[in-house]
């Protein structure tokens, strides 16, 4: 366990010292959301109707931005090779790196999302579902993204490849994330959708480490 936490702490320290990642994700998130009123017009009724979708789609794209660096830097400087030869199984290391990635990029998304929802006149009844959905959904984004990041190691234009691999897998998170908000606003309650998001998260925690670790081992051969 201490090796697991050491790896999380090291990735957080690297993110903190190098800066960039979290700031870039947030800046992208804010700028993209702000584009929509310019594009579709500022009518509150229209924005209110599409607010949940905009916030979630933009959050997905923002999460995608930082994925390329998840394993790439470690791969290039030889750290990944050294990590793979540690007693701590690579599967656990994948989980540690995803946790650090989520703390650096997912958590800021959760904090900023309500402010952007305000900008888009989201119905106040939808905020608890938005927050709960983001809390359950963004870790899944980091985890699924890890598979794409691991598979695209060593490929040229890895960033584009990651998007192609990962975006289709993000669709369930998007559907249930938006559905939770809409259901809450319509008065049906967000519980079923949130439970499905939780199920996706459990599934991702269980499966992703094995898939991503296998991809990393292939990249290191």
């Amino acid at each position: 366990m201490s090796a697991f936490l050491t790896l999380v702490a090291r990735d957080l320290r690297l993110a903190f010292r190098q800066g960039g990642d979290a700031a870039m994700v947030i800046a992208f998130f804010v700028l993209t959301v702000v584009l929509f009123p310019f594009g579709v017009g500022p009518e509150p009724e229209l924005l209110q109707r599409i607010a949940a979708g905009i916030v979630w789609v933009t959050a997905l794209l923002a999460a995608l931005l930082s994925l390329e660096r998840l394993f790439q830097a470690d791969y290039e400087d030889g750290s990944l090779e050294a990590l793979a030869l540690l007693p701590l199984p690579l599967e656990a290391q994948v989980l540690a790196k995803c946790l650090a990635h989520w703390l650096v990029t997912g958590l800021p998304l959760i904090i900023v999302a309500p402010l952007l929802a305000l900008l888009l006149h989201l119905d106040p009844a939808g905020y608890p579902a938005l927050l709960a959905g983001m809390v359950l959904g963004t870790p899944t984004l980091s985890l699924i993204g890890a598979i794409g990041a691991a598979l695209s190691l060593g490929a040229r234009r890895g960033g584009v490849l990651i998007s192609l691999l990962v975006l289709p897998l993000y669709i369930p998170v998007l559907i249930f994330g938006v559905a939770a908000i809409e259901a809450e606003i319509a008065g049906f309650g967000a519980r079923p959708d949130l439970l499905l998001l939780a199920a996706l998260l459990v599934l991702a925690v269980g499966l992703v480490p094995f898939a991503a670790a296998a991809a990393l081992r292939l990249a290191l051969e």
Partner: protein, 224 residues
């Protein structure tokens, strides 16, 4: 440094090893035995498979044929135990530009579950003054020494070193050879590849050129 003896039971052996990179068979029919306190120096021209053999011994690359065993047990049966007893220092130094030398070494030691004394390991390779310096300010030779300091910080039974003398000055090189000597005196084993002549006492030499398949043989024949 705590100088506790290393586990000495069992030989590290390879039998009939073959390695394939892509479509190409690099070597085949390779045997070696490494007992406690032993050293194996890999020599051979570029591309003869020195690095590949080291990666194979570490378990990074699967071998195409043959067996790798420690004390008679195939290393694939318990890869975790094999990883726990080895240090592999490859071509890259695995350092982060924004972490200091001390932080880097402490990280790799903690990942192996020990709060090792970092200072003596740094001092050993002449990096005592660089402990708080971010790695981006270190020279190539200093980075190399920092990577090698990992060997000292956490004991491991088997050292796999790929061209460890590259970019080291003569002082650092003799420090490394002394460290290898102490490691072997405690029952540790070393496999290293080199182009430079290296003085390691009674080390066995393995010339990888001898195991290169001839161009006329097909891989099916070779592995049969």
């Amino acid at each position: 440094m705590p100088a506790q003896p290393l586990p000495t039971s069992g030989d590290f052996t390879g039998q009939g090893l073959a390695c394939r990179r892509g479509e190409k068979l690099i070597f085949r029919g390779l045997d070696f035995t490494l007992s406690a306190g032993g050293a194996l120096v890999l020599i051979g021209p570029n591309g003869s498979g020195k690095s590949s053999l080291l990666r194979l011994m570490a378990g990074l690359t699967p071998h195409e044929a043959g067996t790798l065993a420690w004390g008679g047990t195939d290393i694939r049966e318990d890869p975790g135990a094999h990883r726990a007893r080895l240090h592999f220092i490859g071509h890259s130094d695995a350092l982060k530009p924004v972490l200091s030398a001390g932080e880097s070494l402490a990280f790799w030691a903690k990942m192996r579950g020990t709060n090792a004394a970092i200072e003596p390991a740094l001092a050993r390779f002449g990096l005592a003054n660089a402990a708080n310096l971010p790695c981006r300010y270190l020279s190539a030779g200093q980075k190399r020494r920092l990577a090698l300091a990992r060997l000292i910080a956490v004991p491991a039974a088997l050292w796999l070193l790929d061209e460890p003398l590259a970019s080291l000055d003569s002082d650092a090189a003799s420090q490394l050879l002394a460290a290898i000597g102490e490691h072997r005196a405690r029952g540790g084993r070393v496999v290293l590849s080199t182009h430079a002549p290296i003085e390691l006492g009674d080390a066995a030499r393995l010339s990888l050129g001898d195991f290169r398949p001839s161009p006329t043989e097909t891989s099916a024949e070779l592995l049969a």
